[in-house]
Every structure is written in structure tokens, then in C-alpha cells.
Assembly symmetry: C2
Homo-oligomer: 341 residues x 2
């Protein structure tokens, strides 16, 4: 997961964040040592680099809100689903801390990344502390499905790591297929989002069919998000303050629309420009943008996002989730993919 469109939160996200922020802080304080807590408080946006409170709850809490809704889809309370919500947010932020180091990203959410403030060793350790705490929080839950939920969370985490690995590996390869690229996005983005949508239900001991339906819903939403994010990384969006036009092309990223175009018939000029050794000038970025569009990369990505959203809706509807919870799940999913569902 990289950027998410920044704009006003929806009602359910607003409520979720208010409830989840303090609970997450309590979990961090009780599971991490003082030094690791300090880095976590900074990373989550609760404190500045000197440890002074910022007075805000930081991130949008998309995944933990989905985890709470999945517990409600299984007829449980938010309190019962809470450990799942906290665990999934800890795993997500473990990945952000390590991703920022791997990508040498210096800013996140408009603030200096943790490794630039505290150094690489401390930021590696803070990520390690978070993934360790995620397991502890989940296993401490007095719930029927604590062990089973932890197994699922670790499976999703392992897939997320595999996806990140493939992403790193693809940078060095010129023959990445669209199938490989979709699998990578499913691992890197879809697995944890699917897990977030199912983990609360699994924790409270829901039936396997509901857990699977919720997981599939989230996985499709994750892929739709990745496609939308990749489109923004090329064409941008004036309504959003996220990615700049051409950002992904400048670094020759093998994003989904680009890989779709590279594998189309007649992509010789695109392949030469994008995979060749010449510097990526602004003029080349413009030409590549045109060529990706002409080769059908943009249309394919938009259509594929629509297909993923349709599949998500079909899977969630089939679960028989009560209308009020269904509406809230669709509200959050719509926020993630940047359109109303």
C-alpha cells in the first residue's frame, strides 16, 4: 500500500478513528518498550520527534475499521473485534516502517519518515517490535478464534512480504508478465486488506463461509485500490493531493498499467524507452505516458478496477451480511478505491 487519496473521512471512518486511536496507543504502550514506543508514537503521528503530543490521531485507520466491521458482520461487538483491528494496523505499520527504509522514502503523510528521524537501525527495530506486538495482541484476546485468526494474519503477512519481494525483484527484470504483476499486487496489497476484512469475524469464531467471503471482498478491493493508485501514479488527479503526474514513470516503476502496455503487441517504442538505459527526461515521461495509453494500459487498468469492484460487491452480497454493516463496509471500500460503491 502506498498513498491513499486524502480527503474528508466518511462517517464510519471518522467514528472508527476516534475509537481506535486511543486503543492503539494503549496497545503500543503496553506491548512495546519505552524507546520503541517513542518511535511508534512519532510514526503514528501522535507525537513529534521530541515526543511532544501533536493532538491528533494520525492515520485513517482503514484496515482496523474494516476489522471491526467484520466482527459486526459476524454479529459481535466492536469490543470483541478490537484485538483484530489493532493487530492488523500493527502489521500494516510494520510494513510501512520497513518499506520506507527499503524505498529510501523521506516523507510519509507529509512528515519525515521514522528512519530519517531515528536512524535505520531504530526504524528496523520499531517495525520488528510492531509485528511481534501484533501476534501478542491477537493471542491475548479472550475469543474462540484467537489462534485461528493469528494463523490467518501471519499467512497474510507472509504474502505481503512475498509481494514486496517480487516488487523489488521486478525492478531488475524486463520480462515481467501481467499475470505476475497481478499476483504481486494481490500479495502486496490484497492479502492484508482481505485479512483486515475477515479478521474480526474469524476472531469471534464466525463460520468459514462468512470469513472466506469477507476475505475475498477485501482482496478484490485491495486490487482495485492498487489499480487506482497505479493510474494516479501516471495520470495523477487534480482533485487529490496524493501522487504527482508521472511520478511512477520517472522511477520506471513496473506498475500494472505499464506492464499491461509493455506486454501489448506493438509496444516496441515503449519497451525501448522504458526498459532502455537512457535517462528518463520529462519529455520521455510525456512520450511514455502517451504510449502506455495508446497501448491500452489505461483502459485495461480502469476496466480491471471496475471488474475487481464488481467481484468485491458480488462476494460481500453473497455473505448475507446485514444491510447496515454491509452499507458501512461498502462505504469504507468506496473510500479506499476512490469512488462511491
Amino acid at each position: 500500500m502506498t498513498t491513499t487519496p486524502t480527503r474528508g473521512l466518511t462517517p464510519v471512518l471518522d467514528t472508527g478513528r476516534t475509537m481506535l486511536g486511543p486503543a492503539l496507543r494503549d496497545a503500543v504502550n503496553s506491548h512495546l518498550g519505552p524507546e520503541m514506543s517513542r518511535i511508534a508514537h512519532y510514526h503514528f503521528g501522535w507525537a513529534d520527534a521530541e515526543g511532544r503530543p501533536t493532538g491528533t490521531w494520525g492515520g485513517k485507520m482503514l484496515r482496523p475499521t474494516l476489522a471491526l466491521l467484520s466482527a459486526r458482520a459476524a454479529g459481535a461487538t466492536d469490543a470483541e473485534g478490537l484485538p483484530a483491528a489493532l493487530a492488523v494496523e500493527l502489521v500494516h505499520n510494520f510494513s510501512l516502517l520497513h518499506d520506507d527504509i527499503m524505498d529510501a522514502d523521506e516523507t510519509r503523510r507529509g512528515r519525515a519518515t521514522a528512519w530519517t528521524v531515528f536512524g535505520v537501525p531504530s526504524a528496523i527495530l520499531a517495525g520488528d517490535a510492531m509485528v511481534t506486538a501484533a501476534t501478542s495482541v491477537l493471542l491475548a484476546a479472550p475469543a474462540a478464534g484467537a489462534t485461528s485468526a493469528t494463523v490467518s494474519l501471519m499467512t497474510a503477512t507472509q504474502r505481503m512480504i512475498d509481494g514486496q519481494t517480487s516488487d523489488v525483484e521486478f525492478e531488475r527484470r524486463d520480462d515481467v508478465t501481467l499475470g505476475e504483476c497481478l499476483r504481486m499486487a494481490g500479495d502486496k496489497t490484497g492479502a492484508l486488506l482481505g485479512c483486515a476484512c475477515a479478521l474480526g469475524a474469524e476472531l469471534v469464531g464466525a463460520e468459514r463461509s462468512l470469513i472466506e467471503g469477507l476475505d475475498a471482498f477485501g482482496a478484490h478491493i485491495g486490487l482495485a485500490f492498487q489499480l487506482a493508485d497505479d493510474l494516479l501514479g501516471i495520470w495523477g488527479d487534480p482533485d487529490r493531493s496524493g501522487k504527482q503526474v508521472g511520478a511512477d514513470l520517472r522511477v520506471r516503476k513496473k506498475s500494472l498499467p505499464v506492464v499491461a502496455a509493455l506486454n501489448s503487441p506493438g509496444a516496441d517504442e515503449l519497451r525501448a524507452l522504458y526498459l532502455g538505459p537512457e535517462p528518463m527526461t520529462e519529455r520521455t515521461v510525456q512520450r511514455v505516458t502517451e504510449l502506455v495509453e495508446r497501448a491500452g494500459g489505461r483502459d485495461w487498468a480502469q476496466d480491471e478496477a471496475a471488474r475487481q469492484i464488481a467481484a468485491a460487491e458480488q462476494r460481500i452480497t453473497a455473505t448475507g451480511t446485514p444491510d447496515d454493516v454491509l452499507g458501512e463496509l461498502l462505504e469504507v471500500a468506496g473510500f479506499i478505491v476512490g469512488r462511491q460503491l
Copy 2:
């Protein structure tokens, strides 16, 4: 954990390694993706950088052998204790992969470290994949104590991370007390070794008193090991191929004998040389070595190691562990601390 004295393995370690090597490889292959597996095979010493088998089983498998013995101390078989053994070795190697990056160490066990071969991003991810797999392996065990053992392993992992954090933090501080330094060593080295000595027993559902006795035994052995390792880092040992004389002093490491000496009365010259801004010449290293010894740092560390070993023996004897298993636990512990127990 840094270096361990290299010399011939004891009989129980030799047997342990032959059994554990293939089982660990199977766990790696089934829980890690192909790319992460490749790095793990290299890191464990099973393959070279191109993936060609080396024909050896790599490390000494100290911790997993202890975990198997702890299952036997609880009356269970090696097969029943195996998931605990694999999980603890995965956590240990997760920490090695990340430590080598943090310390910028270029060699381990006489080979290039993983990050120098595969790059920092891949080595971070490989560590992440191992700690995630550790939880999965343990929770998949068909055993009464799988959940409880996983909670204990995560608690020990969190303490190991805290210890590592303190170690990094101490480098920047001139006022580290001996108490802080002992606590750091207990977290960094003692926690996981204590866990290794108890995890097999916990996994098979042993009584709490046995688990606690085994854990305390391992924690004391861990501290004795750290003290022995710190002594080697200053005075070396011609019989061992591990650390070089003065290695820790050259990098101004706040090891236990040094901190003991720094906090002794009349350590003004030592403090000025060790905490001051002047370059650490070979002549200064020699003078610091003398001053640490004169201030009682060497004697204190030797006495403290003996006290920790005595405490370990007292705790393990009190558990009522059968003589044959007791003998093997003491054999491995003796190997770790570099003397016969």
C-alpha cells in the same frame, strides 16, 4: 548474540544438528516464498549465493537443540518438541539478519552477510519472513501449549528487540550504569535463550513450575555467555578463532566489563580515553585494556559469569529434570559458556 566460540560440537549438539537441519529446511521451504527461501538457504549456510548446495547444515543449532531437550525434560518426544525448536531458530536468525544490517557487519560465520549479497531491502524482508514463519510453525503444532508457547516466544522476541534497542541507545550515552547494562544483556541475550530452554516444555503442556525453572536456567546461561563473549571481546582467547583481542574496545563498545570499570571509583583516565573524542589508536586500546583490568572490570565479569552459571545449575537441578536430560542440557549450556558444567 554475537560470536560463539567455534570448536568441535558436543555429542548432543552433533545429533541435534543432523536432525534439525533437514527439518528447518523443510519449514523454510513450506513457509517462505521462493525468493525469501533462496536468501534463507544462503543465510543458513545450506547454499551459496547462486543457490548451489554447500553440502553442510550451517549453524550449531544451539537454541533448537535446547528446545528439543526441554520437551524431553517434560517427558515428550523430540518430534513433539520440534515446532518449538524450529520457531526459536527462526526467531534467532531473524535477529541475526537484521542485526547484521544495523551493525553494518559484512561477515558472519566466515561468509559474506546476506545484506551484502542480496541488498538491504531483501535482507530486511528475509528477516521479516522468518519471524512471521516462526509464529506460523508454532501455531500449526498439534500440541496443548501451542498458543501459550507462541505468546512466550513473542514476549521473548519483544525483549530481545528492547535489548537491541538499548544497545544502540547506549552507544550514544556516557552514563550507562552496570544495572542498565545487565538488564540490556538479559533482554538481548538472556530472554531468547531462556525461551529456547523452556519452549519445548511449554509447547507440550508441561507444568508452569518446570517451564519457569527451564526458562530461568536458560536466562542465566545467556547472561554467562554474554559475559564470556564480552571478556573475549577485550582479552581474546588464543584457543578460539572467534573475536580478536581488543575488538570491542576499538569500536568503544559499552560491554559489561567496560561498564563495570567505567562505574568504578578512580576511573577518570579510563573515562577520558573511552568516552572522549580522540581517535582510538592501538596504543589507546592497550592502555584501556590495562585500565579496565585495573578498575576490576575483568575480575567482576569473571565472577559474575561464575555466579550466573551457579544460579543456572541451581535452577535446573530444582526442576527435578531426569538425569539423562539434565546431563544433556548441562552439556549444551557448557558449550555455550565455553566451559564444562
